[in-house]
Symmetry: C2
Subunit: 216 residues, 2 copies
């Protein structure tokens, strides 16, 4: 099967794990490790070795029996599968704490994804650069996004602005949105939307903590 065909049939969860495998592998590479076993990857990610092998099977990678997987080769292959051939430019809308946290997460990481612009309504921030990322006004969004060929927008504004910002991003031509706002938004179906809600995650942890306590 051609790489192009492989990609279309990868389970969503496998995509997520491949990204995580790669990150673990990059750390291994830095520490001078050349090969790694499926169960080593599994242990790092809290999953089973079978799952790792199955994922790698899906992307058509073959390890060496008894030596495991070649770290460098695997990193490259995962890149061929999940990365775009050219880099993708990303914008952050909302240069508050969360926006800046994300920028700091990314700077320094070698990646095909580049955060090239931030947007905010605070006049004190507009015109400055934060951790190397220039901050523009929200009203400049459409023009800047088009000029810089930005294709993904990360929303880190307060919930009340979520819907408005999502609409602006879509109008500007963005093809993917990552919404960290506590408010769900709607986008046309040619725009990929991923929403993550920190409160939900915390409430989920609290639920299982409670459950565990009650059964004790």
């Amino acid at each position: 099967m051609k790489p192009n065909q492989i990609m279309k049939h990868l389970p969503h969860k496998t995509i997520e794990r491949l990204s995580q495998y790669r990150r673990a592998l990059l750390i291994c590479l830095d520490s001078g490790k050349t090969h790694i076993y499926s169960h080593e990857i599994a242990r790092i990610q809290h999953i089973t070795a079978v799952q790792v092998r199955r994922d790698l099977m899906l992307i058509g990678y073959t390890g060496t029996l008894r030596k495991g997987y070649n770290v460098k080769e695997l990193i490259d292959l995962i890149g061929q599968i999940i990365d775009a051939t050219e880099g993708i430019n990303v914008a952050i809308v909302g240069m508050g704490n969360l926006g800046r946290a994300l920028i700091n997460y990314f700077t320094g990481k070698r990646s095909h994804l580049s955060i090239v612009a931030g947007f905010d309504i605070n006049p004190d921030k507009i015109g400055n650069t934060m951790s190397g990322v220039p901050c523009f006004g929200i009203d400049e969004m459409e023009s800047v996004i088009k000029r810089l060929d930005i294709r993904i927008g990360i929303m880190t504004v307060p919930g009340d602005f979520a819907v408005e910002v999502a609409d602006k991003l879509v109008r500007a031509g963005v093809k993917g949105i990552l919404n960290y706002t506590p408010k769900p938004v709607n986008v046309p179906k040619d725009v990929y939307l991923e929403e993550y809600d920190m409160i939900t995650s915390l409430e989920k942890v609290a639920f299982y903590v409670k459950m565990h306590e009650e059964e004790a």
Copy 2:
């Protein structure tokens, strides 16, 4: 089935959605809406009405035919299912941008979860309060967590400190950890661990953006 028995059989995904339903319902309540249809909830969350009804069936809630669900009642019932009877205290380890972002998300929200302490290594932060949350030194973690009866820890430190902080939290007696660090950690099995990685989410969005562009 007793509420206690219901809880044990709820799918993980249902737990997450219940938390989201409640948040949507609270907004409805504020806007004066007394009843809501399954398809209205579904639309907000980008899921199907069937899924909503199924989730509510699982927690044993019965709506009114033709009028939908009583917003207030449903909020209360979801609380009975997913919340602990008493509030749970939470700590944030790492008072950087991400830590402060989380605190701001939470303050003002009425909730059974309270962020009652923050920890950091920066001496400038220790001793201050940030958005109402007092900041302590990392070395005080164990004593503060015990004194304030903190049962959940949110990790927002740089990746290099992840493992160390997780160990400290476990030793201090925390029963749930939410890890926002890019590094996976290990905890004993009586501690519930949830890990979320922003880079993975962004790479996933990038993958589907790429996919969509290629097929066009």
